[in-house]
Point group: C2
């Protein structure tokens, strides 16, 4: 089986930066998983004894704590600061940006609308910086029943799809006298999505590698599935099933922003052997 990798895939700037920071703090604790990739989290534990703890109460006083790429809530940050001064902030700078926008804009009296998944840690963190309760929507439909204020700020979870973001922006622009749009979708996400789309058009089967709880990985899967019916999302090579590849000639591979190269390499090698 011939394999073709997407032009852009895998680790983004924010993830690379976070892993470097974590590796520089052996025996550290990350508050929740550093990135959305269980295998890489495991590697950090085995090689650097960097462990995960979701619970601030369990963090020992003055422990070495690393803040995850997705960020944490403003309240959790304050509680954490009371526990320890040894905090390494591995929040992706592209996530810090919407946090700052929410804080500033809600202080200026704008109603905040976030395109994202309110259960995702990044969005939870961003929401916590709003002075007033933001409206979080996963699609245009959710907005249609909402009362829309006259002056709004629109931002996006960094890993969302630009087309859907624009649909929401258009809906708001029609109704509001002022719609202040901050395009907080990160370029790496966008580039990975574009590359996956182009690749999916030319292959017989498409494999997306990444964490199943990873928002950007799921986006890659959904986009690829539109153009290539035989599309599968796997976390590692052991999930691959030989039957998928029967009668296929060319397999496309892309990977989410938190998928390390060592996992992707293993996948590619396995498929090539089929």
């Amino acid at each position: 089986m011939q394999v073709k990798l997407a032009k852009n895939y895998g680790f983004c700037f924010g993830v690379r930066r976070a892993i470097k920071l974590a590796e520089s703090k052996p025996n550290g604790i990350t508050l929740g998983p550093l990135i959305h990739n269980a295998k890489e989290i495991n590697r950090l534990k085995e090689k650097f004894n960097v462990v995960v703890n979701e619970n601030i109460q369990e963090i020992p006083a003055n422990a070495e704590v690393i803040i995850r790429t997705h960020g944490i809530t403003k309240e959790d940050l304050q509680r954490l600061k009371q526990k320890t001064k040894n905090i390494t902030d591995a929040t992706c700078p592209f996530v810090t940006k919407p946090q700052e926008i929410c804080e500033k804009m809600s202080n200026e009296g704008y109603a905040i609308i976030i395109f994202g998944d309110e259960m995702h840690p990044e969005v939870k963190g961003v929401m916590s910086y709003c002075k007033t309760t933001p409206l979080v929507v996963e699609n245009l439909e959710a907005l249609k029943n909402a009362k829309i204020p006259d002056k709004v700020v629109l931002i996006s979870q960094t890993t969302k799809n630009i087309e859907l973001f624009l649909e929401i922006a258009d809906f708001l622009i029609r109704q509001c006298s002022e719609c202040r749009v901050f395009n907080t979708i990160c370029n790496a996400t966008f580039d990975n999505q574009e590359s996956a789309r182009n690749l999916a058009k030319e292959v017989d089967i498409m494999i997306i590698v990444g964490g199943k709880n990873s928002s950007n990985t799921k986006q890659l899967y959904n986009i690829s599935k539109e153009y290539c019916q035989d599309c599968y999302l796997v976390e590692d090579y052991q999930e691959l099933q030989k039957e998928w590849f029967g009668g296929k000639k060319l397999c496309g591979v892309s990977a989410g922003a938190s998928t390390p190269n060592w996992i992707i390499d293993k996948i590619v090698q396995t498929i090539q052997k089929y």
Copy 2:
């Protein structure tokens, strides 16, 4: 011939207000035509001796001057104030709004992008309130070759088409980190456009009544033409040609925001007689 009028058509709030103001200032001078309708301008002259003068230099000292619905440039206003204190501002409040936005936002350092016709008096007026040179575009194509700054404000000429405005907004949102969109398209324009669109879908022939230099009238014509091939733009009943109506059953009529009812009535009566 049966005639059906659009649900919304003709005089908007700003035009009605301007005509009332002009009627209350007999012997006044308007700086350029008060509205884009030669017949109504003529009526104001005949009934109220309100005359048009394009040239500030020719305005006598302390004359009674009426500012047109489309507004004038900031510089002209200053020059006018040196000539006379008797100024009646008939600028449509929906035009004053984008003027104020341009002044405030360019002072705050935003690059201003105006969707409109830079030769139109409204746009000339609005442009003059920008501290920096704004980018004026009539369509998305014009923007594609331009250098796009990172923080932009987008506004529209009040009489433009919302769909094209959104195309431009989407293009900017993709590229800019902040795109602050002020929807300055006036509701009357929008309502007239929607009504013309709906009517054009169900009639055999469509007559748009309005000034040939009127932006919003041209929009109505273009929108109607999309849905009804036999579409004509006329300024008054004398331009109607009987041949147009041969073999047709239902004629739709709409009119620009500066078209008075007495002109529309005459048109409708003429068509009904065919």
